[in-house]
């Protein structure tokens, strides 16, 4: 049935139809709910194993300081929203492992306690390019004392091919993976510097 229809249509009619469907998505204001939870963990490298002498790190619950917890930004006239993503974000942060640190579980027994503050999480477009950004501030404390804070940003920019939900979800997940990688690197460096400081003072 579908084949017969295709035979009756001129190729330019099919092309025009496809173009109309493609463009209609851009021109009509619409709100789309994205599901960020599905394949994200596959994008991240959590295979690094911590050494036995590594620091125990504990994560406190996320403080979401965005102006709106549901908004994920806009691409042209299309607005993207999501249901509460904090449990998913929390899960991603807990999965972070480095060579010098690992998950400690109980904050009371941890060497380093991290309070993650979600500052930005959005996707937007610059002309035909989609750009996703994730920013966290990490407040670090050790045995009840503040030992500093880190601001970590993840981003991804690429051509907006079809404007599909999968494409947008993928872009945000890639930005998140970049952020996780930057968090890991920053924590490694921070812990290394603290070790050096302890050794020097000792």
């Amino acid at each position: 049935m579908r084949l017969a229809c295709v035979r009756r249509c001129h190729p330019w009619m099919i092309a025009a139809g496809c173009l109309a469907v493609f463009l209609s998505g851009c021109n009509t204001p619409q709100t789309t709910q994205l599901d960020l939870t599905a394949p994200a963990s596959a994008e991240q490298d959590t295979s690094t194993t911590s050494s036995k002498s590594s620091l125990g790190v504990a994560w406190l619950p996320i403080d979401d300081q965005r102006l709106d917890a549901t908004s994920l930004g806009n691409i042209g006239n299309c607005a993207y929203v999501t249901k509460s993503i904090l449990p998913w974000v929390d899960q991603q942060l807990h999965a972070i492992k480095g060579t010098n640190f690992g998950e400690a579980g109980d904050p009371a027994k941890a060497d380093l306690v991290i309070k993650p503050i979600l500052l930005k999480l959005y996707i937007q477009n610059v002309n035909i390019t989609k750009s996703a950004v994730v920013v966290f501030r990490l407040e670090l404390s050790s045995h009840g004392k503040s030992v500093g804070e880190l601001t970590c940003r993840g981003r991804y920019a690429g051509m907006n091919w079809s404007g599909s939900d999968d494409e947008m979800t993928g872009a945000i997940q890639k930005a998140f993976a970049d952020c996780v990688s930057n968090i890991t690197a920053s924590l490694e460096l921070n812990i290394k510097l603290q070790h050096t400081a302890v050794l020097t003072s000792g």
Binding site: L67, S71, T129, A157
Partner: protein, 313 residues
């Protein structure tokens, strides 16, 4: 003599229809952007609340779009080249802006504009808001929801955006401002604009702050570092200034009269003409307007459809 052959009548009719559509389209474009409010209407607004809405979470970037297609007479290959160049420029801009975004991570332009608006509007009879909220615009229905849910109060809505110019030399702050009478007040004079409930005042504002005195033209990375230096001092100074100017311009425009013919904003004979650059449009066009107001090294340029832009004199 028939200019259109009989056998081509169908084609001719299509041409006439197209021409008519073109005229309708162009006449639509020439409609004034600004909807002024009379002093009479201002006194009937009752309680007013202000809302600053933001679509974006951080400072935006802009690119000069590639024009290969137009230069070579079009075609698919040229369009693909344009897309590729635009994508490359956008990725470069989004990468280069990172140090500035990091420097402005704690900067809240919405909150600053809210304070500036409260101050500036205190002197405008009838429009002084009891409070100004700052909210995230989620989708095109968000603002209508706020206005319809205002509990009978009139709403002054400021849709704020801010971005860097394509060469990162300027920061441009702009705002779409609308005033919606509460309840059924002023229903007889209310007008319509896309994606907004009926309104009694509307205009679009911009304020541009440029980094001058640069010996050579730095790269995007270089410009971003200049704005971001010392915790984003230059960028914050620029944004503070622009947001304050925007608030003062809004207060000024709420009491500015309608044009004499009720539609177009023609330059008075003695007025100084200035050009405003409109970014993000192919061909990088300029729009001409006249200086309506000068203050402390700044000029406020009134564009032909009523918009107001603040630039350096």
């Amino acid at each position: 003599m028939n200019l259109i052959p009989a056998e081509a009548f169908g084609r001719g009719r299509s041409f006439v229809v197209l021409l008519a559509l073109g005229v309708m389209f162009l006449s639509g474009c020439a409609t004034s952007v600004r909807v002024p409010i009379s002093s009479d209407s201002r006194t009937q607004l009752g309680a007013v609340i202000g809302i600053v809405g933001l679509r974006q979470q951080e400072i935006g970037t802009e690119i000069n779009t590639s024009n290969v297609s137009a230069a070579t007479g079009g075609g698919l290959i040229a369009a693909i080249v344009d897309s590729s160049i635009d994508n490359s420029r956008a990725k470069k801009a989004e990468s280069a802006v990172t140090p500035l975004r990091d420097a402005l991570i704690n900067y809240q332009p919405g909150n600053i504009l809210a304070v500036d608006l409260q101050k500036a509007l205190a002197t405008v009879p009838g429009v002084s808001p009891s409070h100004v909220d700052v909210r995230q615009i989620i989708d095109p229905n968000t603002t209508a929801g706020w206005i319809n849910g205002s509990g009978g109060a009139s709403v002054l809505l400021v849709n704020l955006s801010y971005k860097l110019s394509p060469n990162f030399g300027s920061i441009i702050v702009s705002a779409e401002v609308s005033l919606h009478a509460g309840g059924s007040r002023l229903a007889s004079v209310a007008q319509n604009k896309p994606n907004l409930p009926p309104l009694v005042y509307y205009n679009v504002f911009s304020s541009t702050y440029t980094l001058f005195g640069l010996s050579d033209a730095p790269t995007l990375d270089g410009m971003a570092k200049l704005w971001a230096a010392n915790g984003g001092q230059s960028a914050q100074k620029a944004l503070d200034f622009e947001l304050q100017e925007l608030a003062v311009m809004i207060a000024y425009d709420l009491t500015a009269p309608s044009p004499s013919d009720g539609k177009s904003y023609k330059a008075p004979e003695t007025a100084e003409i200035r050009q405003i650059q409109i970014y993000g449009t192919p061909g990088r066009p300029f729009q001409e307007g006249y200086i309506e107001h000068k203050t402390d090294g700044r000029a406020w340029v009134r564009l032909p459809l009523g918009q107001l832009s603040g630039i350096a004199q």
